[in-house]
Assembly symmetry: C2
Homo-oligomer: 306 residues x 2
């Protein structure tokens, strides 16, 4: 039984108020794999061009990330995204998008991935996400989907078809509002749960994340950081920590999802400290445990009702 | 030993995306008194004009709010504020401000208030706040100050003088940034703590509140609400719950401040459900207890480090 991750592997060029990166490795699938592989082996599905560094693939393989499902299109170029963050780091402008290999990406699920128990659909064309679900002969125990406003604008119908097949949707607050047509996040979550997923996670960046399920709600804070250097990949890292913990523990109860969200938040708090995947690659178990205990301290209080 | 509250008592006229109020009762001092009096008797310092309804004063007196320090200027008019909220309810435009009785307000601390142990300085002219501190012969055990961007713009030096004399400062996130000149809230709090207060509470509206003290930080979420009807007074209500709980328990430890912040947040979640002080006036102990248990559920998670 295994965790399968679908998502882009890419080049990014990032500008923030604090600096500018070179063309560095990015992509939802990359961040998810780096993070989830701290908890459990990963079977990756993605596509890259001939320009994608073999050393990056080797690094992932060394982390127990199976790359059999990663297509390498020797004569094509890897997906490229360039963006600039505003001062609040919650909003950004896309400066350039070159789909390249993503334009005609047809994922192929290797036979060895058919034992998939946990499926993480990183942000990607909704039809591609659905194609992976449909290629699996046994439905996974849990399917988690990330998506973004871009697909709501150009492929809402496709997105809703995929949405109807998943268990957990992860979006940010403005995407939840766009998808539901409701400003209130509580009502937005209720509306989205009627579209298919039984769980909705709404990410609010520096303001934390909310998990909704039936009439229950859980709030996970983000760690107050002195500096957010580069938020790129924070949401994907969050997803990686979330699915990694669930796949490791094989427990998909609401209680365990709460723990998984805290772990995702802790991992995301490392991601934003440096450009790209740099910090994620070097973080140690001791550092993660230290940060998890900071989360416990952060929200721990005593109310005695009498 | 007692709780003394200083703050405006006013008329407000409010527009939100959901409706428009008549000219209703408002003012920081009013909200604080209504909320804190759930926990402990209040000795109020304020000023109103001859147009302020006697029935409102009677209602407060019936709640054990001592009004000896509330000046009634028979021939003048009560402070009036009118504002319009935007869709996100975190930002608002002031449409009209008529200082009236506040223009030349000289607070006089009655002799019977000299036993003040807890002093809550609601948002008001910084020099007026300081005048109350200076009139008290024995320094209170805890002085909490609320303020706002308006005073930072027109009276920053005065504000800093008062700030240097208090124990706890409460501001919202944009005010913390303005006061400190730092965008990072973690660094902003550190800067403000060098200006006098040993504790800084940064309110983030629907995104909760942060309490900083030395190198410690606590985060209290806001309850995710289906609808925020009118956020006016939410910050004052939060202050009232905070100081009310501290004054009742007479415990000013960091741990108890955490509890006080949760109580303030719970009370604020009622305040925003209706226009003005209406919801605060009718809320029952059972409802507050129910909401406090919702806060416990909201952030309760299990992390076992191994």
């Amino acid at each position: 039984m295994s965790l399968v991750v679908v998502g882009s592997m890419a080049f990014d060029a990032i500008e923030t108020p604090f600096g500018k990166s070179d063309k560095i490795i990015g992509g939802a699938g990359t961040y998810i794999a780096w993070c989830a592989s701290n908890y459990t082996p990963v079977k990756q599905i993605s596509v890259v061009g001939g320009d994608f560094p073999q050393s990056e693939l080797d690094d992932l393989a060394a982390r127990n990330v199976n790359l059999e499902g990663v297509q390498i299109k020797k004569d094509e170029k890897t997906f490229f995204w360039s963006g600039r963050y505003h001062m609040d780091m919650n909003s950004r402008d896309t400066l350039d998008t070159q789909l390249n290999v993503l334009e005609n990406f047809q994922p192929v699920v290797p036979e060895s991935y058919q034992d998939c128990e946990f499926l993480m659909l990183g942000n990607l064309v909704p039809a591609v996400q659905r194609s992976v679900i449909e290629q699996l002969r046994t439905r996974p125990k849990l399917i988690v989907m990330d998506t973004m406003n871009f697909w709501m604008e150009i492929a809402m119908d496709e997105l809703k078809k995929t949405l109807a097949m998943v268990d957990v949707l992860m979006v940010n607050d403005s995407e939840a509002r766009q998808l539901s047509g409701d400003y209130s996040l509580v009502r937005a979550a209720a509306t989205i749960m009627k579209m298919g997923p039984k769980y909705v996670i709404i990410k609010k960046g520096e303001h934390g994340a909310l998990l909704f399920h039936a009439d229950k709600v859980f709030f996970a804070p983000a760690l107050p950081l002195e500096e957010v250097f580069d938020p790129t990949g924070a949401g994907d890292t969050f997803a990686g920590g979330f699915i990694g913990h669930l796949a490791k523990t094989k427990d998909i109860s609401f209680e365990n999802m709460k723990t998984a969200i805290i772990i995702g938040s802790a991992m995301a708090s490392f991601c934003v400290e440096k450009f790209g995947t740099q910090r994620l690659k070097e973080v140690t178990k001791q550092e993660v445990d230290q940060r998890l205990s900071e989360f416990v301290q952060l929200v721990n209080f005593d109310i005695t009702l009498n």
